[in-house]
Each structure stands twice: as C-alpha cells, then as structure tokens.
Amino acid sequence: MSSDLTELYQQVILDHNRRPRNRGKLPQANRVAQGDNPSCGDQCKVYLNVIDDRIADIAFEGSGCAISQASTSLMTTQLKGKTQAEAEALYKQFHEIVTTGKEPEEISDVAAFAGVHAFPARIKCATLGWHAALNALKNGATTATTESHKD
C-alpha cells in the first residue's frame, strides 16, 4: 500500500469511521444544520444543543466516505463544551491541517487528518461536517455545501 494512503487512512480515522462517536439524533437540539456534497452524494446532519453560547451537546447523522464520517465524528468530540469563537478557531486549525498537511504543535487527534492534503479532491469530504456545525452555530439551521469555488 502506498505511503500516501497509509497517511490518509490513519488508525484514528479508521477507528472513528468504524465506531463513530456521538452518532444519532439529539432530542434536546436547538440548532440543526444539513451538510451536502452534491457531486458525490455525501450528506450529514449536525444537531447542537447550545446553552449560553456554549455547545452543551452535539450529535450527527449521515452517510459518506470514511474521511467524512471520521472527521464529523472527531469534530463532535472536539466541539463539545466549546463556545462559537472557540469552535471557529478549531475549524481554522483543522482547515489548515487538511489543506497544508502541517501538523499542529500540540499533540491532537486532528493531526490524523494531515494526510488529506495529498488528496485535494477529498478535502471537501473532511470539511463537510465542520461546515454544517458552523452553519448551525451561526445561522440556526441551513444547508451547508462544500461545493463552492473557495472550498
């Protein structure tokens, strides 16, 4: 197997893909957003329960490739307990990782996504769940898409 592939499908990603965290509906959600990747058919729905500008709880449903499922799962673990500003900062860091391949200074599971940068067509898989979550935070409820020209 090529080294690019083992970089892409790291153990963390395979694990989140096989045993997604926070998967399912969230009955107490007060924010919901849909994420669509029209060209390839990936879809996810992110539920948030936001209390006092803090993500008290988060869950997701959806179907898609290992990258999109794992990144959405990992994203939920990262965002729980965070404020909107913190969530945006985390996304910025994540986006940097998947587009440049530069790993963050602190040790973190998100570093597993550095291998995505060698597969530019898969960047939108990795960011789908994040887009939906941020949209839900900002706008309450909308459909996010990763198919704009500026990623």
Binding site: M1, S2, D4, L5, L8, Y9, L14, S39, C40, G41, D42, Q43, S63, G64, C65, A66, I67, Q69, F119, R122, C125
Partner: protein, 407 residues
C-alpha cells in the same frame, strides 16, 4: 472479422502512462471514453489547415470548413440510419439535446394534465429538463418503475402508465448505473400505439451497440460525442424531420434566421433553426472521424467485447465478500456497479487510484434511482474497446486489498 483488441490499445496514446507508479487502467468509460489518435490528429490537422467560419463564407477555407461540418452531419446521419442529414442537429451533448426538446417541443406542445413519462433509471439529464418544463406548462411527470432485484423496467406497470395522456415518453437506451439494456424497439412501438412521442437517451449506447433509428422507430434520439471516442463539446439531437420543422426555435442568433427585422424575425428550417451562432464545427468534424473509427472496429464486435468483459467482471466481483452487485445478472452493457456495506465508494476510488485504476464512485447522476435501491452511492467500473481481461483481474485484486484494509 473481429478486430485485434490488443492493437486497439495502441490507438489510444493516453493509456500508455503510469498513474501513481502503476500502469493506468482506465475503467471510467461510462463517464467519458478516451479518444483515439486519429481523432485527436484529425482535429489538430483541421485547425492547422482548414479552419474558417462556416456557412456564410465563400472563400476557400470557409468552403472547406463548411464541407467538413456538413460532411460530419452526413456521416452521422448515416451512422444512425437517419433518413436525411436535416434530421441531425449538433448540440454540446446529450444534456443540451434533451433540454432542446423539452424546451421547444415540450414548451410548445405540453399543457396542464398532459403526462411526461420517464423511467426510474433516468440520468439527471433526462429528468431535470422535464421537471423544468413540467413546472412551466403544468404537465405531470410519471415514472416507469424499475424492479428492485434485477434493475429492469417493470413492463407490466408500463401498460398502465402508457395512456393517451402521455405526450412524451423519454427513456434511456442503456442505464449508466445498472447496465440494463432497455427494449427500445418495443417501448417505441407501445408509445406509438397511444400516440406518444418518444425520446431516447442514447448517451451510453451510441458508441457501444449497433444503433439504427429506423429500426428503433423513435422520434428523437440524443447522444454525446465524448462517450463515443469523440472530443468534448459536441453532441447530437436526432429528430424526425416533420417534428423538428414544426418546433419553434429555442436559441436565437446568427445562422438560424431567414430574415431579421427590428420588429421580428423568421426562421430557417431544421437543422439550422436549432443551431444559433457559430457552431462547434471543428469538434463536429472530429465527431465524424469518431464514427469512422468506431465503424472500423465494428459496432457488433464492440458490443460483444464490452459485454464479455462485463460478464467476466460480474462473475469475478461476485466472489468478493460482502459485495452487492447492482443491475441485471444476465445480459448487460459494458459496465458493473457495486457496493459494500462497510466500505464507501469514495474510499474505494481513492484506493484503486493508488493502484493506477480509474473508477467512478458516487450517485452517477442517478440520485432518485439510488434512493430506490436504498443506496447513496456505488462504485462503477465501465469498459471500452481498449480494456482487457488482465485489467479486470487487477481490479479484483485491488478490491480484495481494499476490503481487507477496511473490514
């Protein structure tokens, strides 16, 4: 006489390259086929020697260009056994051809209460144009169901759906996801009995099967050059002459008018009426060369070659653990779609690409069909004249490794 399939590979220089360090195995032919050297060289040579705008020119280059363009029209009329070249309208591809018919024929003929009959296996390009015109005219769209197991049209429902309210029945010749080959002659015959106009989406059949509009008996037929060993940006709408000449123009502009006045204009007959503006004459010329190339191999021989590869692939793939094969188990066109419960199509495509294998994963512009099949995506391997048995072996080997990795 069957062509020497081995030599055929040499006609396609693009195949002679490595991808990710492995020899390229191109199995994405249902998306677009590769183009033989004669077509690429012919196109370049046209630009290097004969290029000028067509029709309105009386100088030598313009006459050569016009002859190349109209010669291609003749060639294509012959290729599909049309009655005359006036039945051949050049478009950008299948999608534009269907939009033309939906907007012009549909827009002028459909009214509230009329039915547009499609099938559940249609490509988005044979659904959305009809949804747009249905919305404008108030016509209703109905779908002939597809059987869930074998991916065939449910012909028993067809008789109930094909009523006198059906103004147009539009269906695909070959499904780009299922590989199903539809009984187009029978479908046209039945449509005729209720007075419905027929449109065939031949995107997946034109380069692969012997095809005669005379034999099929359809009213319209649409296809793209790029899927039949042709270049991009050119396609065809075939329409019966009387139908075309009764249709209003769709796009307006130079070349399609008889007279233009500040107050109004009058139109030329088909095909000019539907070819507003400078046509894509160079790519049309190249499409004629693609017809020549395909006929030099023989369409019967191509069909046999494709379907032999498809059965081989179907049989070999069926041995993979956990695979779900989509579409007919028997006769099928040169493609196989499949899905695994635990491995997503995109991951398969990315893995296979590392082995130099080009596959397609996704909804294949068949979202409604996918939903019906309970899937969000499949992986598709689709074959053409240059593919070989050993390429299918390589595919199976690669898939085996992928399954092991993920499961």
């Amino acid at each position: 006489m069957t062509p020497s399939w081995k030599n055929v590979r040499e006609d396609f220089p693009i195949l002679n390259q490595s991808v990710n360090g492995k020899p390229l195995i191109y199995l994405d032919n249902a998306a677009t086929s590769q183009k033989p050297k004669v077509v690429i060289d012919g196109l370049a040579s046209f630009y290097l020697k004969d290029n000028a705008n067509v029709h309105r020119g009386l100088h030598t280059l313009s006459m050569r260009s016009t002859n190349a363009y109209e010669g291609a029209r003749n060639r294509i009329a012959e290729f599909i056994a049309a009655e005359s070249p006036e039945e051949i309208v050049f478009t950008r591809g299948t999608t534009e051809s269907i939009n033309l018919v939906a907007a012009s024929f549909g827009g002028s003929q459909l009214k509230a209460g009329d039915v547009i009959l499609l099938t559940e296996m249609e490509h988005h390009s044979n659904i959305v144009p009809w949804q747009l015109i249905a919305q404008k005219t108030g016509a209703k769209i109905k779908y002939v169901p597809v059987t869930a197991d074998e991916g065939q049209l449910d012909l028993s429902s067809l008789d109930k759906l094909l009523t006198s309210e059906v103004k147009i029945f539009a269906f695909t010749h070959v499904s780009n996801t299922l590989g199903t080959i539809n009984p187009v002659i029978e479908l046209c015959r039945k449509a005729k009995q209720v007075g419905a106009t027929t449109l065939i989406d031949a995107a997946q059949s034109i380069g692969h099967l012997p095809l005669s509009v005379k034999e099929i008996g359809c009213d319209f037929l649409c296809f793209s050059g790029h899927k039949m060993a042709g270049v991009t940006g050119i396609g065809v709408l075939y329409g019966k002459k009387a139908l075309l000449n009764a249709m209003p123009p769709w796009q307006g502009g130079g070349g399609m008018i008889a007279t233009v006045d500040f107050d109004g204009s009058t139109w030329k007959p088909s095909p000019e009426r539907f070819e507003a503006g400078t046509p894509n004459y160079a790519d049309a010329y190249a499409l004629g060369l693609s017809c020549d190339y395909i006929d030099s191999l023989g369409r019967k021989a191509i069909a046999e070659h494709d379907s032999r590869l498809a059965s081989l692939a179907y049989n070999e793939l069926s041995k993979l653990p956990g695979i779900r094969l989509i579409g007919p188990s028997g006769a099928r066109s040169g493609l196989v779609s499949f899905a695994f419960k635990d491995v997503h199509a995109h991951d398969i495509v990315t893995f296979a690409d590392q082995d130099g294998i080009a596959l397609r994963g996704g909804h294949h512009c068949n979202q409604p069909l996918m939903k019906k099949l309970g899937l969000t995506s499949t992986t598709r391997a689709s074959f053409y004249v240059y593919n070989t048995d050993s390429e299918i072996e390589a595919l199976v080997k690669s898939l085996n490794r992928i399954i092991k990795f993920f499961c």
